[in-house]
Amino acid sequence: MITRKYLVTRTSYAVLTSAIALVINFLLPRLVPGNPVYTILLTKYHYLPPNQIKLLESEFGLQNPNLLYQFQRYIIELFHGNLGISYYYFPATVTNVIATHLPWTLFLLGTATAISSLVGVIIGKYIGWHSGTKGETAISALFMGLTSIPFFWIAVIFQLIFALYITHLLPISGAYSVTLVPSWNVAFILSVLRHSILPIFTLVLVSFPGFSLTMRNTMVNQNKEDYLTLAKAKGIPERLIVKNYAARNAVLPVATHIVLAFGYVVAGAFFVEVVFSYPGIGYALYVAVTSLDYPLVDGIFLVITLTVIIANFFADILYAYLDPRVELK
């Protein structure tokens, strides 16, 4: 059930969080001591004639030191999709850089989340139903261990294995073979798929155990419910009880977990992209950080933060729609 109150609360949270992100994005670069034109551009170009400095200052909106005025300009430019110009990818704009990198990340994230939630729920259903057995305890312990391994380290280890021990089976860097020109033909699509196997596998390996453990816990709780005792008493085959009764009720909280884990998986995707030189937004952020491309860092921060906030918002709404029992706060 989606009540009006629920909708209003969720919307106001999303709006408030986005506003905080905007303010951070606006203030942080301005709180750093010094004039951005001098500190950033002069280190890049070493010398600029005074009239050009004037021009840049007006371009940055700096001729008026009033923060409110600057904030107003910042918001206006933002709504025009202007996030500034990247230093590293000069003369490309930040918006352009993000637009070319984002699809790769969405592809990795979407596929990995779909696979890991599916695998996680299936395994969690199984171990949850058999909880308390030796095998279940061992698997749960293993999963807890898997969730605590850093994403990037797993990625590095895979790269090591596939670079030196199982060579030529799977590509270990890039998103497609450098000999191919991006287009919608079979060779290119196959190359993209082959290049995505290791990054996606890494993401799945580190994120599915968390989903499994949540599913396991909710399954264990279902086991105590009266309706299951009744189902058993009626003599319904166990296989059907698990499938049609317990798992159906247990899967909903897992949906919340998947949403909560979204931010974590996004961060994971960034690391995986860095290790496998995968040209997604995480790789762009890495390049921006290491080359001190401040406008690009700011732009990526804003886009990613807003995307995650909006995704969370829709997931919350969807969840309330799917599960009428959802706690209305």
Binding site: Y13, A14, L16, T17, I20, A21, I24, N25, L28, P29, L31, V32, A141, M144, G145, T147, S148, I149, P150, F151, F152, W153, V156, I157, Q159, L160, A163, L164, G263, Y264, V266, A267, F270, F271, V274, V275, L285, Y286, V289, T290, Y294, V297, D298, I300, F301, I304, T305, V308, I309, N312
Partner: protein
């Protein structure tokens, strides 16, 4: 730990709680999970503390040949410019654990304080604190960490403060929900009837019951902070001159250690983080089981 109590009371409370803690620890160590987690964490802490003394070489000594595989002189080989990897590992253990512990201290303090106050004094304060927490929890942490680390000075202190200040909301929520259930227990009503002040109930009646939960969360945060710091370092953020597990992995990645098959450089820091993570989970779930047994209730 127990502020605002008279000298006489402090003395009686102290003796009581010290013996209580010792017997509690002894009992908890009977739990296999807790025991193994505890021992592993203790082992790493020991390495971290004695690291600088057992390190065979100066970590900045680059006079050895590059990319040496492990030998008796270099237990973990050497890296791209001839640092002794074992030296980096033992000293790095100390730095990583220190960062983790410092973050945990800040987070635990903020999280516990916010959780206690919010859970016990419902109403306006609770509302403001919990709405703040809600908003902070929606905010994705990683991009925020990155942008803060880009603009703030790259020191370990900065990393500690950023991580400490950003991770308290979740903990405060855990503590708050526990305070809410504790508040309804009969002994609290008894304390209220005996005329205890709110502050006294909070610190001497509710707080002791929260200790296991606080300890478990504090340990998880240590591990989370180690992973987060390593992640930031891997991204080229924070103090890259500092010797720790994260910077080890960063330099390994940026100097193409994989091409040189320098597994001896890549495996120790990552594996240690994984082992510490498993140990923290064992420690936490073991302690939870033990506390559950003791109070005769399953959480």
């Amino acid at each position: 730990m127990l502020p605002e109590v008279g000298p006489l009371e402090t003395k009686t409370l102290k003796t009581k709680s010290t013996t209580g803690e010792v017997s509690f620890l002894r009992g908890a160590l009977g739990n296999k999970k807790f025991f193994s987690g505890f021992i592993i964490l203790l082992a790493f802490t020991t390495i971290g503390i004695i690291g600088p003394f057992i390190a065979p070489y100066n970590p900045y000594n680059t006079s050895f040949p590059s990319w040496l595989p492990p030998t008796s002189a270099h237990l973990m080989g050497t890296d791209y410019i001839g640092h002794d990897v074992f030296t980096w590992f033992v000293i790095g253990t100390g730095t990583s654990l220190f960062v983790g512990a410092a973050v945990s201290l800040i987070t635990t303090f903020l999280g516990t304080a916010a959780g206690l106050v919010s859970g016990y004094y419902s109403g306006m304060v609770d509302n403001i604190l919990m709405r703040t927490v809600d908003v902070l929890l929606i905010m994705p942490t990683f991009p925020l960490l990155v942008i803060l680390a880009v603009y703030l000075p790259p020191t370990n202190t900065t990393t500690i403060i950023i991580l400490g200040v950003l991770s308290w909301p979740f903990m405060s929520r855990v503590i708050r929900s526990q305070v809410l259930t504790l508040k309804e227990r009969p002994f609290i009503s008894a304390a209220k009837l005996s005329g205890y002040s709110g502050k006294k109930i909070l610190f001497s009646e509710i707080f002791p019951h929260l200790l296991p939960l606080i300890v478990i969360n504090a340990v998880y945060i240590v591990v989370g902070a180690i992973v987060a710091q390593a992640g930031l370092a891997f991204f080229g953020l924070g103090n890259l001159a500092s010797v720790n597990w994260g910077t080890s992995l960063y330099w390994a990645q940026s100097s193409d250690a994989i091409i040189y098959n320098a597994w001896w450089w890549i495996i120790p820091p990552g594996l240690s983080i994984a082992i510490i993570g498993i140990a923290a989970n064992l420690f936490g779930s073991g302690l939870n089981e033990y506390v559950g047994q003791r109070s005769g209730e399953v959480r």
